[in-house]
């Protein structure tokens, strides 16, 4: 029998090889193959825009992933501008590096990829590298601050906070000036409860209809990337689970998985399966949270109570594993911290059947009701806009783009497990809601398949580079005690180099770029959090809506502010 799946895989490999050969012909010695999925290209500042346009138009790198700056003052050079792009046909990622300085302004990418706008604003905020046509405004750090906080030579000094009260819009070119003068500017401050964290929406309204709008972020900025440069690898672990408290194990998985891949550490099968179970439980929790918030915005409080009960039941089961709520350090370097407690699997299976029944009950009542359809069948985001902004995850799939990291570049056992990728059609709030509901059912089926075939064996690796000895050995054995001291004193040291690892988190592609100089502390860590990119497309969506629907739009995109502000 002809195997279609095998043929597709072969085609993918052929296409990727063809692309790599073409790229080699074009860029020759400037191209290096870092890992299987990543290539890095070095370009000079003079032809930086040309090369990126060439990559977009000739080589199909049409999805913008990330843009960041790395500080090279220790080397005596200036800054490195790094742009990460994705080719969606062959799943090939490329990092383009370009040396820049803070004296001259760099040509802006925001005409080619719209999603680069906030990234370039952030680069000025953090490093002082300015871009053409990008306003020099603080996006994350407070207005009136001295210096650029992610530079290596930054020293914090006291400053007086400037409160910028000017939230005006530039004249709208689409309407005559007399018409534009009639519009009002409205600010909407939202705090926890309404949306997931503090946010500010600024809108230009005429007769209660939003003509233009944008989001103001940075109220929850903690400087996670700077903190990561000043603490060792052990101390980073508890910080990870607190970036987005709804899905802590996703961040731990992206971080630990990347380091394990980089150090080439073998993870036992049981640990892999357990990590997948935690991740999928987190995905369900985050989607339930989103649905609950949408329900709350529409004023249907009985259903909010139902979703909260479901979320609490997940927390209760996780608490039986680790004695803590969701933010436990269950995933550690080299596996899972502890094996499954006796009787936990039964409770988890009970939870699955409870959730399936309850989610079906609730969504059956909501999904087809007139109120729900009337309020949610609006605010379209088409697939071209979504890809331009760099939106990923359920928001991208709701616009009809079939791209799920679990399918296209599967890690662990996602290859062997049967599940489907739900897709929307119009990219409306309703599609985003429906995609999330269907993803909950798919996650439930993934967990049940995993628990049915849970592999036996250890949950921690025996590799000496990341091994933590067991406690009872530490108490009795002197060799184990020495290793224990070595591990907790300096932590794991990464050899010199860089890597990028990403997974499919409930909101989209979550990635970590890490650059190490071979010392105890890391040189640069960059988080690619999905909310930072879906936050920008708010501008496109809100046009023509009414003011009362703003929280609804934000919650349907699921913007978690802890994740956006970092």
């Amino acid at each position: 029998m002809f195997d279609f799946q095998e043929q597709e895989d072969l085609d993918l490999i052929n296409n990727r090889n063809f692309l790599l050969r073409e790229l080699e012909l074009e860029f020759s010695d400037k191209l290096t193959l870092a890992t299987n999925e990543n290539i890095s290209i070095v370009v000079s500042p003079s032809n930086y825009i040309d090369q990126i346009l060439k990559l977009k138009n000739n080589f199909g790198f049409n999805f913008f992933l990330n843009l960041w700056i790395s500080d090279n003052i220790a080397d005596g050079e200036n800054f490195d501008l790094m742009v990460q792009l994705l080719n969606m046909d062959t799943h090939q990622r490329a990092i383009i590096t370009c040396p820049v300085s803070d004296l001259e302004s760099v040509p802006s990418l925001s005409d080619i990829y719209q999603g680069a706008f906030w990234c370039e604003q952030e680069s000025w905020d953090m490093f002082g590298v300015s871009f053409d046509s990008i306003p020099k405004e603080r996006i994350l750090s407070p207005e009136g601050m001295d210096g650029f906080s992610l530079r290596k030579d930054f020293e914090p000094r006291p400053f007086t906070l400037k409160r910028s009260s000017d939230y005006s819009f530039s004249p709208d070119p689409r309407v005559p000036r007399g018409e534009w003068k009639k519009r009002d500017v409205l600010q909407l401050d939202m705090f926890n409860g309404e949306v997931n964290g503090p946010l500010k929406a600024i809108m230009e309204v005429y007769d209660e209809v939003v003509e233009r709008g944008r989001l103001e972020i940075g109220f929850l900025h903690r400087g996670v990337e700077k903190i990561f440069e000043n603490i060792n690898l052990n101390q980073i672990m508890p910080h990870l689970s607190r970036i987005n408290s709804n899905c802590p194990t996703m961040f731990q998985q992206a971080w630990c998985g990347g380091i394990e891949k980089y150090l080439d550490v073998y993870i036992p099968d049981r640990a892999k399966a357990l990590r997948m179970v935690f991740n999928e439980l987190d995905r369900i929790y985050e989607h339930l949270d989103t649905i609950g918030r949408i329900v709350d915005n529409l004023g249907c409080s009985p259903f909010l109570k139902e979703t909260l009960v479901m979320q609490e039941s997940i927390v209760a089961v996780m608490k039986k594993y680790s004695e803590q709520n969701l933010s436990s350090n269950l995933i550690c370097l080299g596996g899972v911290k502890s094996d499954v407690p006796k009787g936990w699997l039964t409770e988890c299976l009970n939870l699955l059947s409870f959730l399936e029944k309850k989610v079906f009950e609730v969504t059956k009542l909501i999904s087809n009701s007139t109120l729900w359809m009337n309020r949610l069948c609006r605010f379209e985001l088409n697939s071209k806009q979504a890809m331009d902004w760099g939106v990923s995850g359920p928001n991208l799939r709701a616009s009809g783009v079939n791209y799920d990291m679990r399918k296209v570049s599967p890690h662990y056992f996602y290859n062997d497990i049967e599940f489907e990728v739900p897709l929307g059609i119009n990219g409306q709030c309703y599609d985003r809601y429906l995609v999330r509901v269907e993803e909950i059912f798919q996650s439930l089926s993934i967990i049940s398949q995993l628990l049915d075939n849970l592999p036996l064996g250890d949950t921690k690796t025996k590799d000496s580079s990341v091994l933590i000895p067991r406690k009872q050995d530490v108490y009795s054995d002197s060799n184990a005690l020495i290793q224990h001291y070595r591990f907790y004193d300096s932590g794991v040291t990464l050899p010199e180099g860089e890597f990028y690892n990403s997974i499919e988190s409930p909101n989209g592609e979550l990635g970590f770029y890490v650059h190490s100089r071979g010392t105890e502390y890391l040189n640069r860590v960059k988080l690619r959090t999905p909310g930072f990119y879906s936050g920008q497309c708010f501008t496109d969506i809100v046009e023509g809506g009414s003011v009362e629907d703003i929280p609804l739009v934000i919650n349907s995109l699921n913007l978690v502010v802890g994740e956006i502000d970092r």
Binding site: E323, Q324, N329, K337, P341, K471, Y475, L481
Partner: protein, 156 residues
């Protein structure tokens, strides 16, 4: 009897007592009869507390592992002048307002001197109350034997 409903049926007092009990505390019933009980795995949740040896001294040997690993820098240890002779710390302060209860100090301790099992009273009058010294941290040491699992035995 009104329309077939047995509103005024007589029933025994003992049966009614059980019915009321079932209403008030169904969890007690279910727990005592349920076969599946998850057994704790050695993970602990709570505020940090110091453990004592059988003779009543602190187990801590001032190795500084917990102070160095704390991600929020909330532990402060001062040693004796002659640390070789007297290993126990002179001062052991935890600023509980900074603590994130991540449990790394518990993992790092090689002599099982610190445990995340203390009570969490989250109310107080002044900021001074939130810097816990070694006397306060070790005052709950007698209760710290409840959650001992396979992965986390007590230090012999």
């Amino acid at each position: 009897m009104i329309l077939g409903k047995n509103l005024y049926n007589k029933s025994s007092k003992i049966l009614n007592l059980f019915r009321v009990l079932n209403l008030i505390a169904p969890k007690i019933w279910k727990k005592s009869f349920s076969r599946f009980k998850t057994k704790s795995n050695g993970f602990t949740g709570g505020a940090p507390a110091l453990t004592l040896t059988e003779s009543g001294d602190l187990r801590c040997t001032s190795c500084m592992l917990c102070q160095n690993i704390c991600p929020s820098f909330c532990i402060k240890i001062e040693t004796h002048e002659h640390a070789e002779e007297e290993a126990a710390p002179l001062n052991f302060d935890i600023n509980i307002l900074k603590c994130t209860f991540c449990g790394l100090c518990e993992d790092a301790c090689p002599v099982d001197a610190i445990r995340m099992e203390g009570p969490m009273p989250f109310a107080g009058h002044s900021e001074q109350n939130w810097i816990w010294d070694k006397e306060y941290l070790s005052s709950y040491a007698g209760d710290l034997k409840s959650k001992v699992g396979e992965d986390r035995p007590l230090m012999p």
